[in-house]
C-alpha cells in the first residue's frame, strides 16, 4: 500500500509539473500572478527560464499559451478556475479549442472549498464551461496520486486539456503501487449491487467514506470515480446503472452542467435510470471555512448517506 499523503491537489499538480520539466524540455508554465497559490511556484524555482508570469491578465495568458503551443511548446496555463475557465472562457474556446492547440489549462481553487474568499472566487461552473468546448479533455482528479498521474497523462496527450485543482488538503485513498490512470476511463472503487454512487474530484473521498458507512448499515453501494468528465466513460456508467438501477452523482459544482448532467445525459440515451444529483443547487456560495461550507452545502459523507438511504426507500 502506498503511503497515505494529505495534500491539496494543487500542490500535487505543482510537484508533477516540476517533475515533468526534466522529461519535456518544451514544457512551459504560465501563471497570472498566482504562482504561490496554484503551486506553479515549484516549477518556477526549478525552471525559471520556462516560467512565464503574465500578470493579472488571464485572457492574454491563454492567448500567449496558444501562440506558444502553435510554436511547438507544451504550455500549462494556470489561474484560479474562476479566471482561467471563467473569465478567459472565450479565449479558451476560440484561441485554444477551435484550433485544437496543445494547451493545458489549470483551474485552481475550484469549488466551494475555496472557503473564506467567498462567492466571487468559488467557481462552480468551470466543468460545465469546459465540457461545452469541442475536443476539450476535462479532468478532475481526486487525490495526490491521481493528480500526479493526470498531469503526466495530460502532458503526453496531444490537444487541449482542462485540469481542475483544489485548494483543500485531501487524504489520498488511491494505492499508488498499482494505480492506473487513463484519460476517459472511470474507476470502480467499490463494487456493489444496491445503488451506484458516481463522484468526481474532492467528492470522491467523501463518497468513499459514505459507502463504507453504508456497508456497515447493510447497504451495498457501488462507487465510481469519474476523474475524466470528458470524454466520459459511458460504458462504465451504463453498466453500473443497469446492474444497480439507481444512481447518485456527487460533485463540488453547480448541479447544472457538471458530472450529474453528463451522467443523466448518457443514461437518458442508453439506459433510463433514476438519478439524484448532489452538488451546489444553482446558488452562489459565501464566505466561511471550507469544511463548514462543504457540510452546509451537503457535500459531505453524512449527506451522501442520507440521500442514498432516502433514494433506496423510494418505491
Amino acid at each position: 500500500m502506498a503511503e497515505m499523503v494529505k495534500k491539496a491537489t494543487r500542490e500535487s499538480y505543482g510537484l508533477a509539473l516540476t517533475e515533468l520539466g526534466d522529461k519535456y524540455p518544451n514544457l512551459v508554465v504560465l501563471d497570472a500572478d498566482l504562482a504561490e497559490a496554484t503551486k506553479t511556484i515549484f516549477f518556477r524555482r526549478k525552471f525559471p527560464d520556462r516560467f512565464i508570469d503574465c500578470g493579472i491578465a488571464e485572457c492574454n495568458m491563454i492567448g500567449v499559451a496558444a501562440g506558444l503551443a502553435a510554436s511547438g511548446k507544451i504550455p500549462f496555463a494556470n489561474s484560479f478556475a474562476m479566471f482561467s475557465a471563467g473569465r478567459a472562457f472565450e479565449q479558451v474556446r476560440n484561441s485554444v479549442g477551435y484550433p485544437h492547440l496543445n494547451v493545458k489549462i489549470g483551474g485552481s481553487h475550484a469549488g466551494i472549498s475555496v472557503g473564506e474568499d467567498g462567492a466571487t472566487h468559488q467557481c462552480l461552473e468551470d466543468l460545465a464551461l469546459m465540457r461545452t468546448i469541442p475536443g476539450m479533455v476535462v479532468l478532475n482528479p481526486a487525490d495526490h496520486y491521481e493528480m500526479q498521474a493526470a498531469v503526466r497523462a495530460a502532458a503526453a496527450y496531444q490537444g487541449p486539456v482542462y485540469i481542475r485543482l483544489g485548494r483543500l488538503a485531501v487524504e489520498s485513498f488511491n494505492n499508488n503501487d498499482d494505480y492506473h490512470f487513463e484519460i476517459g476511463k472511470g474507476i470502480t472503487l467499490r463494487d456493489g449491487k444496491d445503488i451506484t454512487v458516481i463522484a468526481t474530484g474532492l467528492m470522491v473521498s467523501r463518497a468513499l467514506e459514505a459507502v463504507k458507512d453504508l456497508e456497515k448499515q447493510g447497504i451495498d453501494a457501488r462507487l465510481i470515480n469519474i476523474h475524466t468528465l470528458k470524454p466520459l466513460d459511458r460504458e462504465l456508467i451504463v453498466k453500473a446503472a443497469r446492474e444497480t438501477g439507481k444512481v447518485v452523482t456527487v460533485e463540488e459544482h453547480n448541479v447544472i452542467g457538471g458530472l450529474g448532467d453528463a451522467v443523466c445525459s448518457v443514461l437518458c440515451e442508453e439506459c433510463p435510470t433514476p438519478v439524484v444529483k448532489i452538488g451546489v443547487n444553482d446558488v452562489f456560495g459565501h464566505s466561511g471555512p471550507a469544511l463548514d461550507l462543504l457540510e452546509e452545502f451537503g457535500l459531505c459523507a453524512s449527506h451522501i448517506e442520507k440521500v442514498v438511504k432516502e433514494f433506496l426507500a423510494r418505491k
Binding site: G63, A70, P99
Partner: protein, 281 residues
C-alpha cells in the same frame, strides 16, 4: 524603393483587392472595407517582407503573420492564393459550406494561416506567444500582427501590449490599420481610442506612423522596426477603409456588407482598370 519593385507590389495589391471583392461578392457576405484598407500592407508582407515558403507552410523558422482583425481575411486569402498556398479558385468558395476559406481564419484547415483569429483582441496575444517561443528557442523569425483601430477597444489588446513590452519582444511588429471607421461609426464617435501612437509609446513600443498605402513608407517602417532592440514595434498605418473601390471608400456601411451583382461589376471594373493602368506603365 526601386520603381519596378514598387510597381510589382502595386500590382500584387490590386490583385489582392480584386480577389477580396470577388470572394465577398461570391459569399454574399463578409467584410470588404477593412480588407481593402489592409491590402497594401498585406501585399508588402507577403511579397517583400516575410520569409515564407508556400510549399513548406509549417516550417519552424518561417516568419509569421497573425491577422488579429480576422474579419479582413478576404485580403489575406487573396494574398495567400496569389503567393501559391492554394488555388485562386478557392476565393470563389469563401464562406460556402465545406470551403477551405472560412469566414474567419482557421489555422487547422487553411495552408498559410498561422493562427485562428476572428474574435477581436485575441490574435495579438497569440502573436506574443509565438514571438516569445522564438526568443526562448533562439530562432530568428519575426512575427507580424495586424490589428484594427476598432479592435483596440478590446482590453486584451492592452494586456498583450504590456506583455510584449515587458518581455522585450523586439521580434514582434504590430500594425494598426488606422482607417478610422468601425461598425457603428467613426472610432472617435464610438470609443475614442486616439491618440493610438501615444498609447503604444506609453506601453513601451517603438512607434511609427505612416501612410499605409505608400510602399516606400511601408518599406522604411518595416526596415526600421527590424533595427529596434529590446522593445516591440507598432506601425500605425493611416489607411482608407474600402480603398480602391470608389463607393466603398470611407463609407461606414461597407464594413461588413457584400456588394450585389451590379455593385460588384463596378468594383471589378474599377480595379481591373487600375490593374491595366499599372501593367501598361
Amino acid at each position: 524603393m526601386e520603381k519596378s519593385e514598387e510597381k510589382a507590389l502595386q500590382i500584387a495589391a490590386c490583385k489582392i483587392r480584386l480577389g477580396a471583392v470577388e470572394s465577398v461578392w461570391s459569399a454574399k457576405s463578409g467584410h470588404p472595407g477593412g480588407a481593402l484598407s489592409a491590402a497594401d500592407i498585406i501585399a508588402y508582407l507577403y511579397f517583400k517582407e516575410m520569409h515564407v515558403n508556400p510549399s513548406d507552410p509549417k516550417n519552424a523558422d518561417r516568419d509569421r503573420f497573425v491577422l488579429s482583425k480576422g474579419h479582413s481575411c478576404p485580403a489575406l486569402y487573396a494574398a495567400l492564393a496569389l503567393k501559391g498556398y492554394f488555388a485562386w479558385d478557392e476565393l470563389r468558395k469563401f464562406r460556402h459550406i465545406g470551403a477551405l476559406l472560412q469566414g474567419h481564419p482557421n489555422m487547422k484547415e487553411t495552408p498559410g494561416i498561422d493562427m485562428s483569429t476572428g474574435s477581436l483582441g485575441q490574435g495579438v496575444s497569440a502573436a506574443c506567444g509565438i514571438a516569445l517561443a522564438g526568443k526562448m528557442d533562439g530562432k530568428a523569425y519575426r512575427v507580424y500582427s495586424m490589428l484594427g483601430d476598432g479592435e483596440i477597444d478590446e482590453g486584451e489588446v492592452w494586456e498583450a501590449a504590456m506583455f510584449a513590452a515587458h518581455h522585450k519582444l523586439d521580434n514582434l511588429c504590430l500594425i494598426v490599420d488606422w482607417n478610422g471607421l468601425q461598425i457603428d461609426g467613426t472610432i472617435e464617435e464610438i470609443a475614442g481610442p486616439e491618440p493610438i501612437d501615444e498609447k503604444y509609446r506609453a506601453f513601451g513600443f517603438d512607434v511609427q506612423t505612416i501612410d499605409g498605402h505608400k510602399f516606400d513608407a511601408i518599406e522604411k517602417a518595416f526596415a526600421h522596426a527590424k533595427t529596434v532592440k529590446d522593445k516591440p514595434s507598432a506601425i500605425i498605418a493611416k489607411t482608407v477603409k474600402g480603398k480602391g473601390v470608389s463607393y466603398m471608400e470611407n463609407a461606414v456601411g461597407w464594413h461588413g456588407k457584400a456588394p450585389n451583382d451590379e455593385q460588384y461589376e463596378i468594383a471589378k471594373s474599377e480595379l481591373t482598370a487600375e490593374l491595366a493602368r499599372l501593367e501598361a506603365e
